[in-house]
């Protein structure tokens, strides 16, 4: 189903580009950016498509399980997930939506070298990264039923896309915003947060759990993503917010508001980076070039050194075993 935009067929364009429809009487138009010429546009198959497909029934069962885990990752709470996140909290629209961290690109661009851990990662190891940082947990074992199910769901979404595409992918990740005109500011960010975010995510960032079920994810504190999560980087969160929040109203915040509120959220405390050496400044320095230069970890903000603690949130350990260097010294 993927076609570089120049060859984008009318049928595919309908679903995706209808999001650009801006009827005059609509107060919240969905201004989804249009694909640029030469970009790879892929509309991932749906779960309905899966049922209609000719795949082996057992494979369908595994992909369904992957979808279920993706949408309700809290079923792994206390085993693999130790905060209030689901995969779908950040990868919205079942992991299919452009500008919302669509997950299918991982299936066609990996294995690849990843600066964050300085070695070549395959799809399972990339998913393991999400569990270790964004879910403040530990991944299902490589090759386990759950890992197989999750990776199969990713690959199903990538159906029809060439491996290692050379064209840039439309809406991949959370496309970066332009640099802010003014330096991101805590006070302005707090104002944006209280006006636009706290209704759901609460003033103290804890989100909302009702009758033991997560309704709105925590954006800081013990049950949020840890200091090593990609979205702990201000630019990543700013882009996520701009493209996806408030829910259903993407694109309504200005770039400056998105930068400010991202700075505000990502200067709050959260569980320790699993790579913590015992010294926050040393840890920051060790991963500065590949990661922490974009976070506030190990910096002093409002008189407080951020990340200077040994709190791992709801997780009874610091570092999952899966996080280890690969030497690749095959002989």
């Amino acid at each position: 189903m993927n076609i570089p935009f120049v060859k984008l067929s009318a049928a595919i364009a309908v679903g995706l580009l209808s999001l650009n429809a801006t009827a005059a009487d609509v107060r919240f138009p969905v201004d989804m950016p249009k694909p640029k010429e030469g970009q790879l546009v892929h509309v991932p198959p749906t779960m309905d498509d899966l049922e209609k497909s000719q795949l082996h029934p057992e494979l369908k069962r595994v992909i369904r399980r992957g979808h279920d885990l993706f949408m309700n990752t809290q079923q792994l709470r206390g085993k693999n997930v130790f905060n209030n996140m689901n995969c779908s909290s950040c990868h919205m629209g079942e992991g299919r939506l452009p500008f919302a961290g669509p997950v299918w690109p991982a299936a066609v661009t990996l294995p690849d070298f990843r600066p964050k851990n300085n070695h070549v990662n395959n799809l399972e190891e990339r998913i393991a990264g999400c569990f270790s940082y964004s879910m403040n947990g530990t991944p299902p074992a490589y090759g386990s039923d759950d890992m197989l199910a999750l990776s199969a769901y990713h690959q199903w979404l990538a159906k029809g896309v060439e491996m290692y595409p050379s064209a840039p992918i439309y809406g991949r990740g959370y496309p970066k915003l332009n640099d802010p005109q003014q330096k991101p500011d805590y006070k302005r960010g707090k104002q944006v947060y209280e006006a636009k975010c706290s209704l759901c995510h609460s003033n103290d960032g804890s989100g909302l759990v009702q009758n033991g079920k997560v309704v709105f994810p925590a954006v800081w504190g013990d049950n949020s993503y840890n200091w090593g999560a990609g979205i702990a980087r201000t630019f990543t969160l700013a882009a996520f917010v701009k493209h996806n929040m408030p829910l259903g109203q993407r694109g309504t915040l200005s770039d400056q508001e998105a930068w400010d509120v991202a700075y505000y959220i990502d200067t709050q405390e959260r569980p320790q980076d699993p790579r913590y050496t015992g010294n926050v400044k040393e840890t920051r320095a060790k991963y500065d070039a590949t990661f922490h230069k974009a976070t506030n970890y190990g910096l002093t903000v409002n008189g407080k050194l951020l990340g200077d603690h040994d709190n791992t949130g709801s997780k009874p350990f610091l570092k999952p075993e899966a996080l280890k260097p690969r030497t690749f010294t095959a002989e």
Partner: protein, 212 residues
């Protein structure tokens, strides 16, 4: 498993407790004041689904803060309801609180209006309510209205077990501008993307879901 934010956890627990009883009202007094409500909303607070007419919502078991806010908003005009206006005008500030608390404490009753729904409508309605239709940027109802669409706090009312006719009326009210009282216009943004088929399907499916 150290806790970094013990004071925070404490504040959260406090917050949860106070949220549950945020609205000060007297259910007994509310029952008396609600005498003007019962001819439409029924003695059990179950309301009535009226096919082809304006349905009366179930109030029983809805969140007190939500009910109170709706009464205030109807009075203030941000939620237009010519039918409700004369009745709301009879209630003073304290009576609105009392009535809200009274109805919130009644056991929820079952929703009506989805009995004749087609299998196709039910499937479409379930999809909108639980997964959404992101191609049209219609996010799922339950992402705000909570697991089971049973409602979340004072801002996101229970939809499960509400009458189909009432849910459909409200979605249309957002579309045509007569209802404008939702926080951050989170509902308005979604409602205006929904067509008549969506509205019919999702309201029928929701009405058939358990209210508890």
């Amino acid at each position: 498993m150290k806790k970094l934010l013990t004071p925070l956890a404490f504040a959260m627990a406090l917050g949860a407790a106070s949220a549950a009883q945020a609205l000060e009202g007297d259910a007994k007094a509310g029952q008396q004041a609600a005498a003007v409500c019962t001819s439409c909303h029924q003695p059990d607070g179950g309301g009535m689904n009226i096919a082809g007419g304006q349905s009366w919502p179930r109030l029983a078991g809805l969140d007190a803060d939500y009910l109170y806010k709706q009464l205030r908003d109807i009075k203030a005009g941000s939620r237009q309801s010519p039918v409700m206006m004369p009745f709301v005008s009879m209630l003073n500030e304290q009576q609105m609180r009392d009535v809200a608390v009274y109805y919130s404490q009644l056991p929820a009753t079952a929703g009506k209006g989805g009995e004749q729904a087609s299998a196709e409508d039910l499937a479409h309605g379930e999809k909108l309510a639980t997964v959404g239709d992101w191609e049209r940027y219609i996010v799922p109802c339950q992402s705000c209205h909570g697991p089971g669409n049973l409602g979340v706090g004072g801002q996101f009312p229970a939809l499960a077990g509400q009458h189909a006719g009432y849910i459909a009326d409200q979605l249309r009210a957002w579309k045509n501008g007569t209802r404008d009282n939702d926080p951050l216009h989170l509902m308005l943004a979604i409602a205006e993307r929904m067509d008549e088929k969506d509205i019919r399907a999702v309201s029928q499916w929701l009405s058939r879901q358990p209210a508890k």
